[in-house]
C-alpha cells in the first residue's frame, strides 16, 4: 500500500473488495447543502462510470459520497475508525448495510473497538492509500479531510479540492489547499485530467453520457412551477426571497413549493430554507 506504517492487517466485511482505480471523496461532517449535493453528484458520476468511491462513512460529505455511488448502482468502500462490527455513527446503520451489499467495509482495528477519537486520523491514511485520487469537497481549516489530503500528497496520489467562497467557513480548508497548489476541482473533467488512468479504466464514452445538471429535464413541470425552480438556483433560499423576487404572495409561493416538494423537485431543510434537488 506504499505506506510507511502499513496496517498489520485488515478486517473486511462486504461483497465487493477494493478495486483499481478508485477515487476517495472526503470532507466535513458539518457540510452545507451545496457541499452535500456536490459530493453526491461526483460520486454518482463515478458510480455510473464504474469507478469505486472510497470514503469514511462519517456524517456529511462522507455519507453523501457513499450514497451517490450506491444510488448510481456503483460500488463503494468505507474505511472505518472503529471495529468492523461497530456501527458508527449509529444513524448510518442503513447506509452501512447498503455498503456491505455492494461494496465493503474495511478496518484495521480489532473487532469491537469503540470509535476512539484518535483512531480516525489514522484511518485517513488508509483512505488515501487505497485511492488513486482524493477529492476534498468541503473542509474547515481543522477538518480531518485535510489530513487525508496530506496523506495522499505524501503518497504521491492526486489531490483535488472543490473551491468555495472565501467567506464560506466550510470551504476555508479546501481554499487553503488550492492556494497551496492543489488542483481545483470544477468538474469531473479535472479529475480525468489529473488521473488519466480513470478514463482508460472505464468503458469508452462512459463519462460522455452523463445526465445534465440543473436546468435539464424541467419540462415536466407546469410554467408556474418552472418559474419558481428557475428562481431558486443552486443554493438554499428562504421561501420569502423567492416570493419577493417574483412578486408573488407568500401563500402562492407556499402552494407552489408544496407541489414541488411532493414532486421531489424541492426539499425543505432544517431552519426553514428550501433547496432544489433537480
Amino acid at each position: 500500500m506504499h505506506l510507511d506504517s502499513p496496517p498489520r492487517g485488515f478486517w473486511q466485511l462486504g461483497t465487493v473488495g477494493a478495486t483499481t482505480p478508485c477515487v476517495a471523496i472526503v470532507g466535513s461532517r458539518r457540510a452545507t447543502f451545496a457541499g452535500f449535493e456536490i459530493a453526491t453528484s461526483i460520486a454518482r458520476e463515478l458510480g455510473l462510470a464504474g469507478i469505486q468511491v472510497v470514503s469514511g462513512m462519517a456524517l456529511g460529505i462522507d455519507a453523501a459520497a457513499h450514497t451517490g455511488a450506491l444510488d448510481a448502482g456503483g460500488s463503494t468502500i468505507a474505511v472505518l475508525g472503529c471495529g468492523i462490527d461497530v456501527c458508527y455513527p449509529p444513524r448510518h446503520a442503513g447506509l452501512r448495510a447498503r455498503i456491505v451489499g455492494s461494496g465493503s467495509l474495511i478496518s484495521e482495528e480489532p473487532a469491537g473497538t469503540p470509535p476512539f477519537r484518535y483512531n480516525f486520523p489514522k484511518r485517513n491514511r488508509i483512505i488515501a492509500a487505497l485511492a488513486q485520487a482524493v477529492v476534498v469537497v468541503e473542509a474547515t481549516e481543522r477538518s480531518g479531510a485535510l489530513s487525508t489530503a496530506r496523506w495522499a500528497a505524501d503518497l504521491g496520489r492526486e489531490v483535488l479540492a472543490v473551491p468555495g467562497s472565501i467567506r464560506a467557513r466550510q470551504s476555508s480548508g479546501t481554499n487553503l489547499l488550492i492556494r497551496d497548489g492543489v488542483r481545483p476541482f470544477l468538474g469531473i473533467a479535472d479529475l480525468l485530467e489529473a488521473v488519466p488512468e480513470l478514463r482508460s479504466a472505464v468503458p469508452q464514452g462512459a463519462f460522455d453520457t452523463l445526465p445534465g445538471g440543473p436546468g435539464g429535464g424541467l419540462e415536466r413541470f407546469s410554467p408556474p412551477l418552472r418559474e419558481i425552480l428557475a428562481r431558486m438556483g443552486t443554493q438554499p433560499v428562504h421561501p420569502d426571497q423567492v416570493g419577493f423576487a417574483l412578486g408573488l404572495s407568500p401563500s402562492l409561493v407556499a402552494s407552489r413549493l408544496g407541489a414541488l416538494e411532493l414532486a421531489g423537485a424541492v426539499m425543505s431543510l432544517p431552519g426553514g430554507l428550501v433547496a432544489r434537488t433537480v
Binding site: R29, R30, L59, G60, R91, R169, P236, H238, P239, D240, S251, L252, A254, S255, R256, L257, G258, A259, E261, L262, G264, M267, S268, L269, P270, G271, G272, L273
Partner: protein, 212 residues
C-alpha cells in the same frame, strides 16, 4: 403544564422557546391537543378540566440560533438532531402550520411600513367565518373527520394531490384530516367554495417544513 392548559381554555397558549421545554412537559400537551380536556389524577380522585386552546410555539432553528441565516450555524450535527427531536413525532403530528421567520435585516426595520395591519386581517377572518355561517366557535378545527371530508368538497386534482401526499409523506390519518382542515381554512379566506389544488399544496407545504 396541565394548569396552563386549562387556564387557556378557549384562548391561546403561547410557549416561547418551545424546544427548551423538557420532553415530559411537551408530552403532557398530547391529551389536551387531541381531546380538548386535561385530566389530573391524584391518589384520591381524577379530575378532568376543559382545555380547548390554540397552541402557538416559537423556537430558534437550532441551539445557536443561526441555522439558515447568513452568519452560519456553529452547532454540532449531534446537537442539531437532539434539538429537532425534542418535539416528538406525535406532537409534531398535531401541529398544523410551521412557518420559518428569517432574521430581519436592518434596512427592513426602517422601510417596512407597507404590511397589512392586524385590523385588516381580522376583517378577512371574520368575513371568511360569516361566509361559512359560523359564529364565534372554533370553526374548521372543531369538525370531525367525516364532517371535514364533506365540508372540503375537494376538487378532483386536489384529491389526486392528497392521495399522492399520503403516499410520499406517510401522513397519519390524523395528519390527513389536519391537512384538509388547513386547506379548508385557506380556501375560506380566499373566498373559494371548494378546496382546490393550490390550497391543498399550500397546506401541505406548512406541514412539510416541519418534517425537514
Amino acid at each position: 403544564m396541565c394548569a396552563d392548559c386549562t387556564l387557556e381554555h378557549k384562548g391561546v397558549l403561547f410557549l416561547d422557546e418551545l424546544c427548551e421545554f423538557s420532553r415530559q412537559h411537551l408530552e403532557a400537551l398530547r391529551q389536551p391537543l387531541e381531546e380538548h380536556s386535561v385530566t389530573v389524577a391524584r391518589a384520591r380522585a381524577a379530575v378532568t378540566y376543559p382545555a380547548d386552546f390554540m397552541l402557538i410555539g416559537a423556537s430558534n432553528p437550532c441551539p445557536c440560533g443561526h441555522l439558515g441565516d447568513a452568519q452560519g450555524c456553529t452547532c454540532e450535527p449531534r446537537q442539531l438532531s437532539a434539538y429537532g427531536n425534542k418535539i416528538s413525532g406525535p406532537i409534531k403530528d398535531r401541529i398544523d402550520l410551521v412557518v420559518s421567520v428569517p432574521r430581519q435585516e436592518y434596512r427592513d426595520i426602517f422601510a417596512g411600513a407597507d404590511e397589512e395591519p392586524s385590523a385588516a386581517v381580522r376583517d378577512r377572518v371574520e368575513a371568511a367565518r360569516r361566509r361559512r355561517g359560523e359564529g364565534a366557535g372554533h370553526g374548521n378545527a372543531a369538525l370531525t373527520g367525516r364532517e371535514i371530508l364533506a365540508a372540503a368538497r375537494a376538487t378532483a386534482p386536489a384529491r389526486r394531490l392528497l392521495a399522492l401526499s399520503g403516499e410520499r409523506l406517510h401522513l397519519s390519518a390524523r395528519g390527513f384530516f389536519r391537512v384538509l382542515r388547513v386547506a379548508r381554512t385557506i380556501s375560506d379566506l380566499a373566498g373559494e367554495d371548494r378546496v382546490g389544488e393550490d390550497a391543498l399544496a399550500e397546506a401541505l407545504h406548512y406541514r412539510i417544513e416541519m418534517a425537514g
